[in-house]
């Protein structure tokens, strides 16, 4: 009995993970600028692989692998945001402006190191 539940759980988890990865893929293509695309991509990083790794954790039946899968999730949870942050900062610092941005005074005034250069690439 428990095996059936496990299989279903693993199947769902893996499918969900893949779906989120697909959403990230679509987001990468459809979203208008780098920063919006980063949202999609960081989501794939966290949710997509997270769910697949969870699937592997439950589906492997081998405690060693389960532990390692959980460790993998922790590692992904730490590295993905840091990588996203580094990339975003680098892009912003080199004058790449988010598309149609409202709000932030800093961005508006261009107090960042270099002048505002509007980059606009349609969806």
């Amino acid at each position: 009995m428990t095996d059936d539940i496990l299989n279903i759980l693993v199947g769902v988890l893996v499918l969900a993970g893949s779906c989120f990865v697909l959403v990230a893929g679509v987001g990468l293509l459809r979203l208008p600028d780098l920063f919006s695309r980063m949202h999609a991509a960081s989501k794939a990083g966290a949710l997509g692989s997270g769910f697949v790794l969870l699937g592997v954790a439950f589906g492997s039946g081998d405690p060693d692998v389960t532990l390692r899968a959980l460790a993998g999730i922790v590692f992904v949870l730490v590295t993905t945001p840091v990588a996203a942050h580094l990339l975003a900062k680098a892009a912003l610092d080199t004058g790449q402006r988010p598309w149609a941005v409202a709000g932030s005074t800093a961005a508006a005034k261009g107090t960042l190191e270099n002048p505002r250069v509007e980059t606009r690439s349609g969806p």
């Binding site: 095996d3 059936d4 299989n7 279903i8 693993v10 199947g11 769902v12 893996v14 499918l15 993970g17 893949s18 779906c19 990865v21 697909l22 990230a24 893929g25 679509v26 990468l28 293509l29 780098l34 695309r37 980063m38 991509a41 794939a44 990083g45 997509g48 692989s49 697949v52 790794l53 699937g55 592997v56 589906g59 492997s60 081998d62 692998v65 390692r68 899968a69 460790a71 993998g72 590692f75 992904v76 590295t79 993905t80 840091v82 990588a83 580094l86 990339l87 900062k89 680098a90 892009a91 610092d93 080199t94 004058g95 790449q96 270099n114 250069v117 980059t119 690439s121």
Partner: protein
Amino acid sequence: MTESFLQVCLHLSLVLLGVSLVFTALRVVLGPTLADRVLALDTLSVLAIGFVGVYALASGLFVLFDIALGLAAASFLSTAAFARFIRSRRVRAPQPAEAGGKP
């Protein structure tokens, strides 16, 4: 019965991953900015983790699994390196001319 459900999910996942692999590959080439390409390459590594995970489940060979962890580590380093590359290029080279260019 439920085994077949799992197999279906796994195959479906492989297809989904395959499709997103193509999408991501497109972004790697389309760009337009280098940051976009780096983001796509980083997503490629995530895709690879997905691939490894699903393939391990499908083939029952969990021995492959550690590749996923190695990948996560290496992809982090590559994105960090690219970030550094992008930032330092600004100091030397003006906004890359090919920002809006198409291949």
